[in-house]
């Protein structure tokens, strides 16, 4: 066990855990930020996506000792003072989530996409959205991304 401080959603958080613990479990079990999900644990499903210095990364395999000097943003950090970001609001407007379990990871990737690309094309959306959604919300994820970027809705 080691006392360490990490920056999560702009706040310094001090935890006492094994430095080899994946960030995912520190966020969830220690810090109570349960929006970030465990889906597969092997870096495939993307349910555990967080931002590391602005890049969407998989928290299931990021070790605590490797995230001590970076800025971490989780789904709980997408809204500002309770005001949803444009992509979150678009997910509501398009009624995107079904069961919702994968949606935190979906949102982290979608938010990253629309923040860096004013008008993502369908191909760019396909390339960016590597998440697995077993409910099959893909059409509504696409529609939400288009809505958030002021593009015409898709069928």
């Amino acid at each position: 066990m080691t006392v360490m401080t990490i920056n999560v959603n702009g706040v310094a958080r001090t935890v006492d855990v094994d430095p080899a613990t994946p960030l995912l479990w520190v966020l969830r079990d220690v810090l109570g930020l349960t929006g970030t999900k465990y889906g597969c644990g092997i870096e495939i499903c993307n349910a555990c996506n967080v931002w590391i210095d602005g890049s969407a990364e998989k928290a299931c395999h990021l070790l605590m000792k490797d995230v001590l000097t970076v800025k971490i943003v989780t789904v709980e950090g997408l809204a500002t003072n309770g005001v949803l970001s444009k992509i979150q609001q678009a997910f509501i407007d398009e009624q995107t989530p079904q069961c919702g379990f994968c949606q935190s990871g979906v949102l982290m990737r979608a938010a990253k996409l629309v923040n860096g690309n004013a008008k993502p094309t369908d191909a760019q959306i396909d390339a960016a959205m590597a998440n697995i959604c077993a409910c099959g919300t893909y059409p509504r994820i696409r529609a939400a991304i288009k809505r958030a970027t002021g593009q015409a809705p898709v069928v």
Binding site: D18, T96, Q98, C99, G100, F101, C135, T137, V155
Partner: protein, 716 residues
């Protein structure tokens, strides 16, 4: 408390505020009601006896209302749909409505696409009763007759002098009144909320990270446990392993080992890693004792037994369907088709793995679980602890999908056993590898279809034999000669004068369960593929062939023609592409799917478009009907293309998303959904009917693309 049972099954009970305040910490006035059973006449429901309260309505201090319901919200929108029904009659605006899960509901099992259709009248009645009680209390308060009062947006107005009362201000008085026996229900023409695209009530938490699924539950003093089961199903732990570093407990559960620690990672790391090993030993030299009869739990042996049963097995009694003289008619028919279709064991693949949090006290228990059967959870706790079910509180969390898997009690029981030993609240969860390798799978099955046709190619005899493993038999719900897995074969909409449907039970002990659309998931593939194959023999277009067989069936023709029109069937597919179509009838609804496919390279398929026409009688919420169709198509494609679990000596092939492939966004077709509403009297379910037509539509398109008929799933 007064209780008045109505003919529609709704019951409204007055209660006081204290219980509600205890449950969620907010003060309001509670009106509780009982709902109709979730699965009328089903075996499952018979086991769910117990409590009387399935839901309640709270009038909040801010003049909003909270509709609580004891079903499982697993993405299908059940909370929203039922709250729409209550709000419609209660005369509140949709913006005033919240929903929450009722903390226990021992009579409610969420399944069978019954949620909205079975409770549609009950929920409206409950809302109307509450409205009339609120109006009555307000009228007394204002000293005027109730007949002079109207309710709108949560405010009661005395039309004589425009005096008003909010719901909140009269709720306490209203709760003391006797619920009216026959409250007036709002006619369809005046509906404001039912039938609209009301936003889901559970979305906000799902986009800001605050939604609490079972896996997210945290209670004071809790510890975390993960499990690792015998790799061979039914095997046992030969000896309790030594305590892993960092863990507080290692527990021998017989067929599994549980590891407990102060957070999830150590148990997960211990239980998930090493699963790729095929040896009988595993981490730290743990030895498993192989189950008896392991060799029989091998895919090739299971298939061989299935083929034998197809040829000579004894069908269930009475025959699942026996109309006319199908066998003799088939034998004499001048044109014939026979084909045998094969479907694999199929994992459910929920994004949220099985999990359960349990806190035990001396004579009471509290459980937080993503469960489709809260009543069974209470019974499971009682059976393992001796705590009476009345002292068991079950909190139904959000479900990160259920798909039929989360009706089961295996993961619940493990959590209870571990909590007993640890003596602290425990959250037990399964690593993904355990979820996919220890599922209760959609059954393996063989389905033989025979169609006898007259000289003109019109079918006159339909024979089907389903040989499959039976979830009902494995649970003891049917006897050795009972029928199972025949939905989608019996009561088919096709006008064929002679019909014979048989079920032959496969004795495999691979655990099987209820998978979204159950029997339809296998039988629709067989039947709708066979119809296309017979059309080919008859020299007819598949859509025209179906139209002939559906003469006079207005609703079936409606979805068939709509799907064909959407895809542009008559104009034909673009060069190098092909269309395929299939019809599903089940869960009270009809769904017809047309697909456009091409095969740019061997070993894959490109699905360009999916056009679904669905007739649920009436869409309580069109957005949610569309969402269920979109999701059903995508899940159906995933399953048809890649879905399977094979077994070698009881060991499952499926482990994690590195060998269980799911369709991704880039692979998903453009989806068009058309809702046909043929009448409220046909109100059907929408959670499952979108899945069954996918595999046969794909197989039919594939056959038309390159002449190759796929009779065995998955494609790849």
């Amino acid at each position: 408390m007064s209780d008045q049972l109505f003919k529609n099954g709704a019951e409204l009970i007055n209660t006081n505020v204290s219980r509600r305040a205890f449950m969620a910490g907010s003060v309001g006035t509670v009106l509780a009601f009982v709902l109709e059973s979730s699965m009328p006449g089903s075996v499952a429901n018979a086991a769910g006896a117990g409590t009387k309260i399935s839901g309640y309505l709270t009038i909040n201090p801010d003049n909003t209302v909270t509709v609580a319901f004891g079903g499982a919200e697993m993405g299908q929108g059940i909370m929203t749909g039922l709250a729409q029904c209550v709000a419609e009659e209660l005369m509140v605006d949709w913006s005033q409505v919240k929903t929450e899960s009722a903390p226990w509901a021992q009579s409610y099992i969420t399944g069978g696409s019954f949620g909205v259709r079975a409770n549609f009248v009950a929920m409206r009645t409950a809302g109307a009763q509450a409205r009339e009680m609120l109006i009555s209390a307000a009228a007394t308060s204002m000293g005027v007759p109730a007949s002079s009062c109207t309710a709108s947006a949560g405010v009661i107005t005395n039309t004589l002098n425009s005096q008003t009362r909010t719901f909140t201000s009269v709720a306490a008085d209203a709760a003391l009144l006797t619920p009216p026996a026959s409250p007036a229900l709002t006619p369809k023409a005046n509906w404001r909320i039912i039938g609209t695209r009301a936003n889901r009530t559970d979305i906000r938490g799902k986009v800001d990270g605050s939604a609490i699924f079972g896996l997210d539950v945290q209670v004071p003093g809790m510890v975390y446990a993960a499990v690792r089961h015998s790799p061979a199903i039914g095997g046992t732990l030969a000896a309790t392993p030594k305590l892993p570093a960092g863990a507080t407990h290692v527990i021998n559960l017989g067929n599994a080992v549980a590891v407990v620690a102060s957070h999830s990672w150590i148990p997960l790391d211990y239980c998930a890693i090493g699963i790729s090993s095929t040896s009988s030993t595993w981490r730290d030299g743990i030895k498993w004792t192989a189950p008896a009869g392991a060799a029989a739990m091998t895919t090739a042996a299971i298939l061989s037994t299935g083929n034998t049963l197809m040829a000579s097995g004894t069908p269930g009694s009475p025959l699942a369907e026996n109309i006319g003289t199908a066998a003799a008619n088939y034998t004499a028919a001048p044109k014939k088709f026979e084909g045998t279709y094969q479907v694999p064991f199929l994992p459910h693949v929920m994004m949220e793995v099985p999990n359960c949090t349990v806190s035990l006290s001396t004579n009471s228990a509290e459980v937080w679980a993503p469960t489709q059967a809260a009543g069974w959870v209470a019974s499971t706790v009682a059976a393992l602890t001796g705590i009476p079910t009345a002292n068991v509180t079950v909190h139904i969390t959000l479900l990160g999908a259920g798909l039929g898997r989360k009706i089961e009690q295996d993961f619940i029981a493990e959590a209870v056993k571990v909590a007993k030993i640890v003596g602290k609240p425990v959250k037990l969860f399964w690593p993904r590898e355990e979820d996919l390798s220890q599922d209760q799978y959609r059954p393996f099955g063989l389905i033989r279809v025979r169609l006898g046709m007259d000289a003109s190619g019109t079918p006159t005899a339909f024979q089907a034999r389903n040989v499959s493993v039976s979830p009902l038999f494995q649970r003891g719900w049917i006897g050795a000669t009972g029928n199972d897995n025949v939905d989608g074969l019996v009561d088919s909409p096709y006008n064929i004068p002679n019909k014979l449907v048989e079920f032959v039970r496969h004795p495999s002990t691979i655990p099987v369960g209820f998978w979204r659309s159950v029997g339809e998931s296998m039988n629709c593939f067989a039947l709708e593929s066979a119809i296309d194959e017979a059309a080919l023999i008859a020299g007819q277009d598949p859509v025209a062939f179906r139209r002939t067989l559906l003469a006079g069936k207005t609703r079936e023709l409606g979805v068939l023609n709509a799907a064909a029109t959407m895809i542009g069937w008559d104009a034909g597919a673009p060069a190098g592409h092909a269309y395929g179509i299939a019809l599903a009838s089940g869960f009270g609804s009809l769904a017809c799917l047309a697909l456009e496919v091409s095969q740019p390279a061997a070993g894959s398929l490109t699905i360009h478009r999916a056009c679904m026409a669905v007739d649920p009688g009436m869409a309580v919420n069109p957005t949610q009907v569309e969402a269920q169709m979109q999701g059903g198509i995508i899940q159906g494609l995933t399953s048809a293309l890649w879905g399977k679990t094979t077994f070698a000596n009881g060991k499952a092939s499926s482990k994690n998303f590195n060998n269980v492939r799911l369709l991704k966004m880039s692979e998903s077709p453009a989806i068009q959904v058309q809702i046909i509403e043929s009448g409220i009297q046909y109100l059907g379910g929408i959670g499952e009917v979108g899945v069954p037509p996918v595999a046969p539509a794909l197989a039919n398109a594939y056959a038309r693309l390159n002449g190759t008929r796929v009779r065995t799933l998955p494609f790849f």
